[in-house]
Amino acid sequence: MRVAVIGAGVIGLSSALCIHEQFHDLVPSLELEVYADRFTPHTTSDGAAGLWQPYLSDHGNLQETLWNKETFDYLLGHLHSPAAKEMGLFLISGYNLFTEPVPDPSWKNIVLGFRNLTPKELKLFPGYSYGWFNTALMLEGRIYLPWLTNRLTQRGVKFFHKKVESFQEVSGDGVDVVLNCSGVRAGHLQPDPELQPGRGQVIKVLAPWVKHFIITHDLKSRIYNSPYVIPGSEFTVLGGIYQHGNWSEENSAKDHKSIWDSCCQLLPALQKAKIVEEWSGLRPARPSVHLERESIRLGNLQAEVIHNYGHGGFGITIHWGCAMAAARLFGSILQEKKRLASPPGPRL
């Protein structure tokens, strides 16, 4: 049984690992292949700071809230394991800031120690009159992706550096299932007008005295169009850009200035921080995550495709819940093909 995974960001690699972990023993002939034009450290996931935090509102999308929770609980369970450091996983606390009171988010009981900010704490952030404090998790893409790659390589999963132009390209030749984790460029494989780039730009600095994340919100604007500061294990990420529909992956001087000025105003101590890197990436934005099965007719063959893309700016936050859901879809495909249910016995 051959499975082709398109995409090697956090979604592609984690879905592949989840499927292999769950089904390899049950389906000894299971062969996974990952196809991607970009691998770590050049994927969208590598540029993300890696903070587990969903958007403020789930827009009634309870399924996504459940996937977020599943991911948080899964990661929390690994926090004390020896693998945590190699996964790039650690606890982090911090602030969400607003200029007016807002309802509590859907994830308030998922994170740890969620509470409102006290007046003294708000003094730290002139211009903001309301906010939250909570403890969440960091999962740094540039460490997690190599870890996932190692786990997959150990399991015999093969990697192919290739720009896949169509499902047909990978689905011929005995490939039974295609896992479409192609992120922002999924529209090239199959048109999806709901999928749009949410362009972001970040500045990576050396500021090891910053121990908290700080995310500001401008309710009139979109999420992540307001300054944020997220300290990683080595660098601190400064950001605050979200441009819907902008496909440019070039760093913009205007965006740089906007990020730098607004973050230094938020945290004056950053003025002395050394800039190490600048990066732009395209969040695969969609009104909801596209996670479903589809049977695609390609010539006289039928291919099963599992779509798993469109995670916007919360890919890391939701990845494991989606990987498990993709694995369930895979399981149902196996059942239909009677691969799981076939009893052992003599072959005729």
Binding site: H80, P82, E121, M138, K211, H212, E234, A269
Partner: protein, 341 residues
Amino acid sequence: MASPKVAVVGAGVIGLSTALCITETCPSCSVTVLSDQFSPNTTSDVAAGILIPHTYPDTPIHRQKQWFKETFTYLFAISNSAEASEAGIHLVSGWQVFKSTPKKGLPFWSDIVLGFRPMSKAELQKFPEHRFGQAFTTLKCDNPPYLLWLEKRLKATGAQMYTRKVADLWELHSEYDIVVNCAGMGAQQLVGDKQLFPVRGQVLKVHAPWVKHFIRDGDGLTYIYPGIHRVTLGGTREKGSWSLSPDSGTARDIFDRCCSLEPSLQGAQDIEVKVGLRPARQCVRVQREVLSQGGVKLPVVHNYGHGAGGFSVHRGTANEAAHLVGECISALQGSSSRAKL
């Protein structure tokens, strides 16, 4: 007295901050810091510098609270300025956890630190051996950066600093009008204070930049304090021990205790072992005294005996000591004008 000459003995956090306060409250004073050790070789350099007060049994609580409040307010302003990284001051959040629920209610400083509250059940799951905990956000002074920043601020005022071992305060009476004794553990010999005793502390300073929270066991013996570049793991409280030599068995024990609080520390690198002698006393001695010898008087202000809580109250005691120096100056001016009659 046009330009009183003040000598400050000691260049740890107490000596440097007291000297700085004196330059602020008495701009006409000429201030000189004398010490046999300067950063990075002071006791203060070994300390993590976290702002979690130590309770002195014989100092009134309201006074300790005032000292802590002044220190916290002072450092809070620096942490929020462009100077924060140079001064080594940063906010840090974390947890104080207890194996058994503490009997006394809230600590006296709970309304001075930020966001103080009991930990939730979910948060306590991270600490299976502990039954109760408090979460809050406080400040940390990284050393040597903070001490070097104090030295820089002092130099900018024109204050002088000299490496010199002062064996007796009377050595200074001909050159200086007032002596401020911030000698820490050195005060035992310098002024013969038998109430002062060392409490040996051994720590490890490690590279573990993914540790973003402090964790402290309520017993005060095991703690993890992340600084700018290093995480301080502690510790010991060995009363009466004068040994400055690191002990490898103790180092192993500290590491194990900290790893059981924070398992990810197993991956810590570049482990450095350090030892300091906390200058412990039942109460911090912030006091004026006039020494007398053969008709000669020497005004002295004492500011020592901060034990495990030096960083937490340093600015408050420095302010008080500087105020006492002001009183000494007034007394000297009073007596000199009387002498003129």
